[in-house]
């Protein structure tokens, strides 16, 4: 699997995701600077976490207008898979690659903690190594992860099975207790209609080694390798 990780001014988890990709593929992904609208062909594009452009104006709003994102949209339309994590999810939502928006956390504070996620679907490039209904534990670290969509959009997202992960309690119960940010329907991650783009707030790249936060996120990258190699 050849992967490219985008780098915007202010990205800061590009190294984490590159490390996770190297761990499962044995090779470093290409790091693509935001000004580079003409990067090499790859099997996977990763939009990483961080504070692109300092989160000024609105999280992800400026990065969504960068030359590289115009190219990402073009390639995504051709079916190139895009994994958008945290600030990457915000950028992808701003760029129109994914429905809905990420608002300020309901409690108005940054939150860094392990959360439990219920896998909603194993029928995707990103989740094929998980079982539907499986509960996994990986961390979140964000101030604006409160997913929201208007009623009509939300109905479509739910009806089409576009929800990838929901926040849940350790036993899998989907209720307010496991929701770290107030996301509507406890949504932690979603697909586009073709399930070739996935955005999620939690950080699977920070859960790939047992000693360093657990390894429940590793299967996501292994599944991608399997599907894209």
């Amino acid at each position: 699997m050849k992967a490219a990780v985008l780098v915007f001014p202010g990205s800061n988890r590009e190294g984490d995701v590159a490390q996770a990709i190297e761990l499962v593929t044995g090779r470093k992904p290409a790091m693509v600077w935001h000004g580079d609208g003409d990067f090499e062909k790859t099997d996977l594009i990763v939009v990483p976490g961080g504070f692109s452009y300092g989160d000024y104006l609105r999280c992800g709003a400026m990065a969504a207008q960068s030359p590289v994102m115009a190219e990402v949209k073009r390639r995504a339309a051709q079916g190139v898979p895009v994994l958008a994590i945290c600030n990457g999810f915000q950028i992808a939502a701003e760029a129109g690659l994914l429905p809905g928006v990420l608002m300020r956390n309901a409690h108005l504070k940054f939150v860094c903690a392990d959360v439990h996620l219920k896998v909603e679907s194993s029928q995707s490039l990103f989740t094929n190594r998980y079982q539907a209904g499986q509960v996994i534990r990986i961390p979140v670290a964000h101030a604006e992860g409160n997913y929201f969509a208007d009623a009509e959009t939300l109905r479509k997202v739910e009806d089409r099975g576009q929800v990838a992960f929901r926040y849940c309690a350790p036993d899998g119960t989907v209720d307010g207790s496991g929701n770290p940010n107030g996301s509507i329907n406890n949504i932690a991650g979603i697909f586009n209609e073709t399930k070739t783009v996935m955005g999620l707030m939690p950080h699977p790249e920070n859960a790939t080694e047992p000693m360093f936060g657990g390894s429940d996120g590793k299967a996501l990258f292994e599944g991608l390798v399997e599907a894209l190699s």
Partner: protein, 746 residues
Amino acid sequence: MTVAAEKNPPVKLPNELTITPQIVAEHGLAPDEYQRVLSIMGRTPTMVELGIFSAMWSEHCSYKSSKVWLKKLPTSAPWVIQGPGENAGVIDIGDGQAAIFKMESHNHPSYIEPYQGAATGVGGILRDVFTMGARPVANLNALRFGDPSHPKTRHLVSGVVAGIGGYGNCMGIPTVGGETNFHAAYNGNILVNAMTVGIAPTDRIFYAAAAGIGNPLVYVGSKTGRDGIHGATMASTEFSEDSEEKRPTVQVGDPFVEKLLLEACLELMATDAIVAIQDMGAAGLTSSSFEMAAKGGLGVIVELDKVPMRETGMNPYELMLSESQERMLIVLKPGREELARKIFEKWELDFAVIGHLTDTERMVLSWHGDIVGNIPIPPLVTEAPMYERPWTLTPLPPVLDAAKVPAPRDYKASLLTLMGCPDLASKAWIWHQYDHLIMGNTAIRPQDGDAALVRVPGGHKGLAMTSDCTPRYVQAHPETGGRQAVAEAWRNITATGARPLAVTDNMNFGNPTKPEIMGQFAGAIMGMAEACKTLDFPVVSGNVSLYNETEGRPILPTPTIGAVGVIEDIAKAVGSRLSKAGLALVLLGETQGWLGQSLYLRELCGREEGAPPPVDLAVERRNGDFVRGEILGGRIAACHDLSDGGLLVGLAEMCLAGGTGVTMKLPAGAGAAHGFLYGEDQGRYLAATDDGNALLAAAAAAGVPATLLGYAGGQALVVEGLLTLPLAELRAVHEAWLPTYMNSAA
């Protein structure tokens, strides 16, 4: 006329303002200090020159009251690459890698403007570390707030925590540890001490000493604005009721720009373009240009009109004294300007050649072609005021007779009171607002161990790091308190299995012109120096913050110790989580039941009295070396040092961290139960092991007192005959206090 003045003939400069005694006083210069200025200059200084003397001779920049004492601290060891005097300390951690670290205070700004004060404190310490070539890998912070019932405390906690998180999270550096205390002595003067640890190759460390006459002086980073003018001077005076009017002296941070600056500097450092580099921290362009030239024994010409400016109408005085953030000064090798410019332009940062080095040993400032300042550099250092202020040591208070401290009527209630008190309650509300996981190397998270443990990227080594001080001990007896702060930091590193290597000290004290305050400082240094020597734990960097008083009321003396240790194989490290039933709990070290200055005495008896627990450094070393050996030998599964609150609190913390209960009984000869369970005797560890008898035998062989207390299992903390406390109930109380406090209306 002094010798210095003869060597440096006066340069006549027109003065825009008459320098009156009032203007001198407003610059924080004492009349005799101003006389020195006159004799060095041989004439009346211009306003910008006066401002430079004021900043450079401020307590904050000159260490004029503390220098004579700081010299008593041990600063060398075979693994020390750079001790105090540079931007940060540097130690060798093997494999061609160095750990670069320092702790620094941002107390006064954080009290006036908590968010920006704390945020720029983090920004400043990060720059101190990456200016030396290191990529920062971890942040820690030590916070002291006033009484929770004080009307300002909630607002200050909220702002400081948000500021630290706002800066560190955006920079992408994990905030992995620290400490938070509350005491009424900090009501009008909180402490915000921030520490950064970075990693660099030992052969790629950058220093501040300028070299190469004619080499260009380059300014990079943010533009200069009017914020923070005279911050260093403000940080060197006492507070009064009107301190909030000083809000404009607080800097405003932009972590996004600092992130760009970090990446741009590291990119430039990977080339061979840099001769010297220095961040612009306290006293901004003044101290950075001055220190670079002074350390290199050179002169410098600064063309101030070339400094990138954020606003129009700025003058030389403002430019030299602004503390605008996210700026660096670099001396480049000749001909490397374009290479460097391209890197900074890529990162969309300002880049300007603003001067060059000379052989004159003078700092010459020009403004659109006119000379506006011309100061001889060496006498500003050699003739800087240095004070041996009178000092009175705090006598050792009488030892409190434990028999005169009442036992609790209800042990369960007493443990819940302690575990829910502000100093011991869970600080999860704070550290969940800090990204402590970014970079993917955090092996021991906050609350899961005595020290944070972070993997050194690209290998199997780990760095353990901690920050410690028990101010109530220092207040009671500074010498013991200084010794204890160092010993506890050493113990916390040891409890993970790492080898303690070196210390950064952040000395927070009151007004040094009062003999009893200077005596606290002196006593603390004596205790620290002795502990650092005995434990082979040199001080490699630090910071002094004096005048922490409001309306004449001083803070508790607080010499915060930041420390770093290394473990060769991170897989061998342990935390304090008790996560397996059947483990034997062994108490290592001697327990007398020392209740003087204990949290039990303060929280349950309402008394703050007696001598603090003595620290026997030889015993400390023997016990710690034994514990570390057992951990590295794989014979200890979890370990916790015993400090605030004593044995029962330590045990409760281990149970909560790992989600496993314990049943223990008081050993024969334990003495009074409350002394045994809540005494704060030093040099002790609680170890969980698969083979209790083997550990007891090994301890006996090493001459370390050891007692088998009981076994892990179940979902309650049980002390036979005294208490049975379900973990759920303990956890609820432990975790409730801070969020409840923060969410309640002011």
